[in-house]
Symmetry: C2
DNA sequence: CTTTTGTCGTTAGGGCCCTAACGATTCCAC
DNA sequence: GTGGAATCGTTAGGGCCCTAACGACAAAAG
């Protein structure tokens, strides 16, 4: 699942050279963009490697985390529905159906009927599911701390600040919803 | 394709609170990690939105870029093979077979027999493929420059430096090759 | 030569993600 | 009440990625 389909990032001299040839190419922006994708890829790879040790995929982890967080938040809350889970994990309802299918097959979650609305289903983590997520979480926290260990507290704050500037820009360039408000290329 | 399966990132106060409950959870490391994945996701989303305007996927773009770069590098070089393309784009040979299948179906690349080794195939971009990539590239460069526009040159350098520290750490935690040299959890 | 070993591209099968459409159910006017 | 709009979960079909295994071919070892 390489976001960045490049074995090696181009060296900066090559970017400078290419920038001389293509007026649209901004070498420092390209370098930052490629490094961002590459680092996101590497961080994701570390996460997946860790999850694979517990025989669980990224998608399943998201569902279990959402169920775990909901369970922790309060006992009297109404159980989560597939639509709610899809919303919280940023996948479509169709994808959530598939994820719940395999999680249920493996005995980690359980589907049940919703009492209030007969269109709905409720999804709950089984004791096995909760046990698995409780087993994964400590190592998950350690993985994040270990990955960020080479950065000081100040550097972490700096990084977060820079990343948030990029996110804000990304949202204004291409709104998440799909079609942009003011078309850039269309028409 | 959300790397980070979370609609909203947790607020820092929540991370602090959770950190008090879970000794392994480092709030600032978690914040940096989640922001990194989220920003990588957003940057990737902008890239895919741009490529979708040209009816091309991320995987296909990588193959066309590799062919384009190879074509530019020199005329006398031997043509690329599927194995070479897989290596350069960081996918398996099996995946490359599928990518070339669809690219060939759409008339963007062409397979041919290799003269030196009858096991091999050579892959070349068709004029249509080269035309498409030449049409995409200017906007691609503009997209990267636009996304990084809110960052000054100094900030870009700072960002790249911080990201490279994380990449180095990621490689030492989980080597790309698969099995780690010195097992951390196993055994 | 012959045999072994390794690499080529491909196929088969699975996971995760998407869009589009479906029957069932609920809600909101009228 | 009752008909239309909206939402529920699901299914069908496709794209991209993976691992495992295959037949074909090449190269090194005997």
């Amino acid at each position: 699942m390489p976001l960045l389909m490049l074995k090696d990032l181009p060296r900066y001299e090559c970017l400078l050279q290419a920038g001389a040839e293509f007026p649209d190419l901004d070498p420092s922006a390209t370098e930052a963009f490629l490094n961002l994708l590459h680092t996101g890829d590497e961080a994701f790879r570390v996460l997946e490697t860790h999850l694979a040790n517990h025989d669980i995929s990224h998608g399943r982890f998201g569902v279990l985390m959402a169920l775990w967080a909901h369970e922790r938040r309060g006992c009297a809350l109404p159980p989560l529905t597939p639509a709610e889970l899809a919303e919280r994990t940023s996948v479509t309802r169709a994808t959530m159906t598939g994820l719940i299918d395999t999680l249920e097959r493996d005995g980690l979650v359980r589907r049940g009927p919703a009492t209030s609305d007969r269109r709905m289903t409720i999804v709950q983590a089984t004791p096995e599911g909760l046990s698995l997520i409780n087993q994964i979480l400590p190592r998950h926290f350690q993985m994040m701390a270990g990955l960020m260990a080479p950065l000081s507290d100040v550097e972490r704050k700096t990084l977060v600040g820079l990343l948030q500037k990029i996110v804000a820009r990304a949202v204004s360039i291409a709104p998440p919803g799909g079609e942009p408000a003011t078309a850039t290329a269309a028409r």
